[in-house]
C-alpha cells in the first residue's frame, strides 16, 4: 500500500480531516490574538484609557472577543463538524494475555470495526 492510497479506516480519515480544521482554527486565533495585542496592547497610554465593558479595549478586542468566538467555534465544531463513529470493541481478556509483542497481528482478525 503506498502512502497515497486511500485508507479504508473511516475513523482515521475523519480524524485527519478534523485535525486540519483544528490546526487552521489555532492558526487563525493565534494570528488574531498575538497580532492585535502586539499592535494595540503594548505601552497603552493611561491618560487616554479606552475601556470596553470595564476592561482595557485591547483585552476586549484582542483576547475576550476571540476567546468567545473560539468557544463558539468549538461548540459548532463539536456539534456539527465532528462525527459520531463506532469505536472498536476490545479484544477479550484471554486473548490479550496470551498475546506477546511479536504477535500483535494476531488480533487483527478479532477486531472488526
Amino acid at each position: 500500500m503506498s502512502e497515497n492510497e486511500i485508507s479504508s479506516d473511516a475513523i482515521y480519515q475523519r480524524s485527519l480531516s478534523e485535525l486540519k480544521w483544528i490546526l487552521i482554527a489555532w492558526a487563525i486565533s493565534c494570528t488574531w490574538v498575538v497580532g492585535y495585542c502586539f499592535v494595540f496592547g503594548y505601552e497603552v497610554d493611561p491618560a487616554n484609557l479606552d475601556l470596553v465593558i470595564g476592561m482595557p479595549a485591547w483585552v476586549f478586542w484582542g483576547v475576550l472577543l476571540p476567546w468567545c468566538l473560539s468557544t463558539a467555534f468549538t461548540i459548532w465544531f463539536s456539534l456539527f463538524q465532528m462525527t459520531d463513529q463506532p469505536l472498536p470493541q476490545e479484544p477479550d481478556t484471554i486473548h490479550r494475555r496470551s498475546e506477546s509483542d511479536h504477535h500483535v497481528s494476531t488480533d487483527i482478525d478479532r477486531t472488526h470495526e
Binding site: 475513523i11 480524524s15 483544528i22 493565534c30 503594548y42 497603552v44 463539536s78 465532528m82 494475555r97 509483542d101
Partner: protein, 620 residues
C-alpha cells in the same frame, strides 16, 4: 488570616472525608471487573460529565489557584494575553487526537501510553523507551506536585492555632532525626497529611476514584471562581472602577530596613510579616518576620515592601503592633521595568522586578499561545484520559463542556485578581497568599466569613486532582508496561492487583522522601517536567496516529531528540543564568525548539526506514 486558616483546615478535613468516601464507592463498583483495565482506566466507561471534568480538573493544578493568581496580582491585565492560548486548548488537546487515540487503544487493548506506541509499531523497544522517558519525567513532575501540595497547604493553614500546635509538636519529634529533622515542620506536617490522603484513596479506589474525585473537585473550582467573581466585582465597585484604579498604580519597591524602638526591649519582640508601617508620608509592609532581641533597640535588617501609588498610601494605616516602631536604614530597589510608570498594570508587557523588557514580550506571548494547547496535548496524563471515554459522542460533548469550563474559569480569574490588586495592596510580600487572603477579605466584608472555607477549597481540589492522576500513571507504567508487558506477561489478575497497590504506595512514599527537603528551584522542575513530557511524546504520538509512513525508529528518534533538545536548552539556561530554567533562544519558548527537533528527527529517521505493511493495513 486566622479565619482563612481555620476555614482552610475545615475545608481540607471535609474534603479528605469526601474523597475517602468516593474511594470506597469506587472500590465497590470495581468488584467483579477485570483488574488492570478497571484500576488504571476505569474500563473505558466514562460519560460526558465524568470525562469532561476529569480532563479539566487534571489540567488545573495548584498553579491555577495559587501561582496564576499571584502572577495576575503582580503583573496586571497582561495575564489575559499570557493565558489566551487556553481559548483553543480544549479543541486542540482533546479533539485533535482523541478519537484516533481511543480507537487505536481499543484495537490493541492498550491501557497506557507506552503500550499504545508498543502495539502500534509491534516494537518492545518503542514501549520500553517510552516507559523510560515517562517514568523519568513523571518522577520530577510528581515530586514537584507533592511539594506544591505541601506548600499550598502550609501556606493556607499557617495561622490556625490547632495547626500551629501540631506543627510545633512535630518539630520537637523530628529535631534529632537525620535528614527529616532539616525539614520545616509546617511543610513536613502538611506534606505527610496530604500525601497519605492522596496515596490511600488512589490505592483503594484506582482510576475510577481519581475520576470521580476530579468531578467533585471540578465543580468546587467552578463554583468557587464564580462566587469570587461576583463578590470581588461588587466590592471593588465594578470592573471599570477597578481598571481605572489599576491605571493609576505604579509598581512597589522591594528593599530592606531596620526596625527601631525608643527603649531597650524587656523581652524578645516579634513583629509579624505583612504588618504595615506608615512614616514620613510613605507606606511600608514587612516582607519577613522582624525580631528585636531582649536588651536591644534594633532588629537585624529585614525585607520590606515600599508602596509607591499615592492612592494606596492614603488608604494604609500602621498596624497596631508596630505603633511604637519606626524604620531606619531603608534601602529599596525599583522594578527593572515599570518603576514609577503609571499604566503598566493595564498594558503589555506588564511590570517586572528583574527583566528590563517587562513581563511579557511579544515573542513570549506567541510562545505561550503555542505552549498551552500543544503542551497539554502532549501530556501523557491527558492522553490517558482520551483513552477512557466510552464513545465518540462523549468526546464531542466533552470538548464543548471543557471549552465553556475553561473560558469561565481562566478569564474570570484574570478579572478577580485584577480586582484583588485594588482591594488588597502590598500582597507582593507573599504573592502565594493572594488567593486565600482574597477569599477571607471578600467573605468577611460580605458578612459571611464561613464562605472563605469553601473558596479556599479550590486550591486543594486543584492540587489533589493533579497528584492523584500522576501517581496512578506512574504505577501503571511500572506494572503494566514493565512487569506485565516484559517480565511476566502471564501474570494473574490477583498478582497484578497486589503489585499495583504496592507500586502506588512505594512510588508515593519514595516521592515524599525525595521532597522532604525540596531544592530551591522545584517550581522550575514543574516546567521542566511538563515541557519535557510534551517535547518527548507530542510529535511521535501525533505522527504515530496520523502518518502512514511512521516507523518504530522514527518514534524513538522523535522521543530522544525532543528530550535531548529539552535537556540541552535547560543545561544552557543553567550555565547562562544559574537557574534551572531552559534557555530562550531568540526569545522563543524552548518548547518550540524541542518540538522542532523532535519533528525533524522523527521524519528523517522514518523516511530512511520502510513501514511494516501489516501494521499499515491494521491501523490505516
Amino acid at each position: 488570616m486566622n479565619n482563612a486558616s481555620s476555614g482552610a483546615l475545615i475545608a481540607f478535613a471535609i474534603y479528605t472525608i469526601a474523597v475517602f468516601g468516593i474511594a470506597v464507592l469506587s472500590n465497590r463498583f470495581a468488584k467483579g471487573k477485570e483488574f488492570a483495565g478497571e484500576y488504571f482506566l476505569g474500563s473505558r466507561s466514562f460519560g460526558v460529565w465524568a470525562f469532561a471534568l476529569t480532563f479539566a480538573a487534571t489540567n488545573a493544578s495548584g498553579g491555577t489557584f495559587v501561582g496564576f493568581p499571584a502572577l495576575i496580582y503582580t503583573h496586571g491585565w497582561t495575564l489575559a494575553l499570557w493565558i489566551a492560548g487556553f481559548m483553543i486548548m480544549p479543541l486542540v488537546s482533546m479533539a485533535m487526537i482523541g478519537k484516533r487515540l481511543n480507537q487505536i487503544a481499543r484495537k490493541t487493548d492498550a491501557i497506557t501510553i507506552p503500550e499504545v506506541l508498543r502495539h502500534r509499531f509491534a516494537s518492545p523497544a518503542v514501549g520500553l523507551t517510552a516507559t523510560g522517558f515517562l517514568v523519568f519525567f513523571m518522577f520530577f513532575y510528581l515530586a514537584a506536585q507533592f511539594k506544591a501540595g505541601g506548600k499550598i497547604l502550609s501556606t493556607l493553614l499557617s495561622d490556625d492555632p490547632f495547626f500551629r500546635r501540631c506543627s510545633t509538636g512535630l518539630g520537637h519529634l523530628i529535631i534529632d532525626v537525620p535528614w527529616v529533622g532539616q525539614a520545616d515542620p509546617d511543610y513536613l506536617l502538611c506534606l505527610l497529611v496530604f500525601s497519605v490522603a492522596v496515596i490511600v484513596y488512589v490505592v483503594y479506589g484506582g482510576f475510577r476514584a481519581v475520576v470521580w474525585t476530579d468531578v467533585m473537585q471540578g465543580i468546587v473550582m467552578f463554583a468557587g471562581v464564580l462566587i469570587m467573581l461576583a463578590m470581588s466585582l461588587y466590592q471593588v465597585g465594578g470592573l471599570s472602577n477597578a481598571t481605572r484604579q489599576l491605571a493609576k498604580m505604579t509598581p512597589p519597591e522591594n528593599g530592606t530596613a531596620v526596625l527601631v524602638i525608643d527603649r531597650d526591649a524587656a523581652s524578645d519582640q516579634l513583629f509579624n510579616k505583612a504588618a504595615w508601617i506608615k512614616q514620613d508620608g510613605q507606606a511600608y509592609r514587612l516582607a519577613a518576620h522582624g525580631l528585636i532581641a531582649a536588651g536591644s533597640r534594633r532588629s537585624e535588617p529585614i525585607a520590606i515592601l515600599k508602596i509607591t501609588t499615592p492612592e494606596e498610601i492614603e488608604r494604609i494605616s500602621t498596624t497596631d503592633s508596630l505603633a511604637t516602631v519606626r524604620l531606619e536604614s531603608i534601602t529599596t530597589q525599583p522594578y527593572a521595568y515599570g518603576a514609577g510608570k503609571a499604566g503598566v498594570y493595564i498594558s503589555n508587557p506588564g511590570p517586572d522586578t528583574k527583566s528590563e523588557i517587562g513581563f511579557l514580550a511579544i515573542g513570549t506571548a506567541f510562545s505561550f499561545f503555542v505552549f498551552w494547547p500543544f503542551a497539554a496535548t502532549g501530556q501523557p496524563s491527558n492522553m490517558l484520559r482520551l483513552m477512557s471515554f466510552k464513545d465518540t459522542r462523549t468526546l464531542r460533548y466533552s470538548v464543548m463542556t471543557v471549552a465553556i469550563y475553561y473560558s469561565v474559569i481562566y478569564f474570570c480569574l484574570v478579572i478577580v485578581f485584577c480586582c484583588a490588586r485594588v482591594l488588597m495592596p502590598g500582597m507582593e510580600v507573599d504573592p502565594d497568599r493572594t488567593m486565600p487572603d482574597l477569599a477571607t477579605h471578600l467573605a468577611t466584608n460580605a458578612g459571611t466569613p464561613w464562605l472563605s472555607g469553601l473558596l479556599v477549597a479550590a486550591p486543594f481540589a486543584a492540587v489533589m486532582s493533579s497528584v492523584d492522576s500522576l501517581l496512578l500513571m506512574m504505577s501503571s507504567s511500572v506494572v503494566r508496561d514493565i512487569y506485565h508487558g516484559h517480565i511476566n506477561p502471564k501474570a494473574t489478575d490477583n498478582r497484578i492487583r497486589r503489585l499495583s497497590y504496592l507500586v502506588t504506595v512505594v512510588a508515593g512514599l519514595f516521592t515524599v522522601l525525595a521532597v522532604l527537603n525540596p531544592p530551591t528551584y522545584l517550581q522550575d522542575v514543574i516546567v521542566f517536567a511538563t515541557a519535557g513530557l510534551a517535547a518527548c511524546f507530542l510529535v511521535p504520538m501525533v505522527l504515530a496516529l496520523y502518518w502512514k509512513g511512521m516507523t518504530s525508529g522514527g518514534v524513538i528518534a522523535g522521543m530522544v531528540a525532543g528530550t535531548l533538545m529539552h535537556v540541552i536548552l535547560t543545561s544552557w539556561g543553567y550555565a547562562a543564568e544559574g537557574k534551572f530554567r531552559a534557555y530562550e533562544f531568540l526569545t522563543l519558548s524552548p518548547f518550540i525548539w524541542d518540538l522542532g527537533a523532535s519533528a525533524i528527527a522523527a521524519v528523517v529517521v522514518a523516511k530512511c526506514q520502510t513501514p511494516d505493511e501489516d501494521l499499515r493495513r491494521r491501523f490505516f
